[in-house]
């Protein structure tokens, strides 16, 4: 075969037939589509975590109560707090950036900046 077999691209290929969009704004639908994919992957990860917990319990490495009653020590609490903050900052990046933009109402787009560079 001349072209390499790209299983990742083939798995996500579009089905023949124009796709219907249901919301007034196709942008909203695109975001929903991505969010649902993420939701699916989160569920998969949660199941994997549960599998690990169950195996650890079955093999007597931890007891279920060890997990439910786990009390992080001070250093662990601090680390987990940092992780949560960074996690929230990651997923809400657009909110942060739109807020920062309020303070800079006259910023040029790169395209506008580029046009100005043409004349220079």
């Amino acid at each position: 075969m001349s072209e390499p077999f790209d299983a990742v691209a083939l798995a996500g290929a579009k089905a023949k037939g124009k796709r219907p969009y249901f919301f007034k704004d196709a942008d909203v639908e695109r975001v929903l589509s991505i969010v649902m994919a993420v939701a699916g992957e989160l569920a998969v990860t949660r199941m994997r975590l549960d599998t690990l917990e169950q195996l650890l319990i079955e093999r007597g490495i931890v007891a279920e109560a060890d997990i439910e009653d786990f009390a992080p020590n001070a250093a662990q609490r601090a680390e987990r707090g940092r992780w949560q903050q960074e996690y929230l900052a990651r997923i809400l990046r657009i909110v942060q950036q739109e807020r920062e933009a309020i303070a800079r109402p006259h910023e040029p787009t790169s395209e506008a900046a580029g046009e100005r560079l043409d004349d220079a």
Binding site: L10, A15, K16, P20, F22, M36, G40, A43
Partner: protein, 398 residues
Amino acid sequence: MPEADHDGLPDYRAVGRHAVFPNADHDQTERFNFLARLNRHLASVVLPGVADAYRQRVEPAFEHAQGRKPAHRREARQALAAEPLYQTWSALRRNTMEMRQQAGLSLVLGQRDQLIGETRRLIDEGRLRLDPQVRIPHYLSAVDHHCMPGSYYTERTADDVTAAANYDAGMFVTTGGMLGRYTDGGGRGMVEYMRRRHPNWRPRRILDLGCGLGHNVLPIAEAFADAEVVAVDVAAPMLRYGAARAASLGVDNVVFAQADAADLAEFDAASFDWIQSTMFLHETSCRALRRIMSETRRMIAPGGFVIHIEQPQYDADMPIFEQVMRDWDAFNNNEPFWTKLHDVDLDQYMIDAGFERHELFHGGVTAVVDRELFPDAADDNAEDYGRKAAWHITGAHV
């Protein structure tokens, strides 16, 4: 207060295995579990809200503007298209189909060499008859059915079976397990129907039209083990996989043959005692349907049965909202002939093909599943409309 009912879905790990069933690792399994539960949630939790919105918002607004209720499902569909809850449900449902396809394809494409190798190893030469001259009919090639990239027939590599393996692996997701361990609830339901009504009947030759990977014909072949069964389809990947799957499950009286159900000249007149199609006609066309009906009339032997099972036809007794919901897949899940098939007078098609009106009969079939693990359509209250595992028979006993 009692706890709310569990959704009743079995885990994907309960799905029946055979030698060419794709292997799913932990995360691939859980991806299917998630999608099956999402489908179930959409049907049992979100969809009733769409019904409420139709009754309380959409229909009253239509009536206010037009001075009457919607008279046809086309009008109702247009009115619903502006309803936010319908939009949300539809967008989620479409998306779930696309996610299911990607999950299934990524699963099978990664193990295509093993699947193809195992298929080659299992196929008994006499049980598979491929014919490269068979053309893919326009009704299949216009769009990819149920958003399945490449449809049933695309061959991504030599002796490909990935389209079939993907279909097989993901049926559990789309139907929420309603078709049972081996996705064969329809075929098993059909066997039960025939045995109950004709306990002493022994067909010698059986023909299954549009067999796909043979999931519905295998229970029929097993129930009538002395019969010679021919299963036809146009898609080579489905037939190869079907033949290997049958061999793996120990069913040895089925020949999988590549042929167009609208042109079966290779089979003699009056040569089958039972001609069956299971959820096949809705993936054809009016022209093909006429040819299929004529061919079945020609091939059926005296005393034989021709049976088609499909979702119920739209008629005046079916509420408009239900018709719109049942029609959703036609427009949004690449089932282009669905709406037409459920509108036509199938009896008339059969009469036009030469059947006598007194030969025709109708009935109902629900999926027969292993009730230990799988939900039973007969006592299922969640209405997923066109996808419910309960079908209508249009048949002829000549």
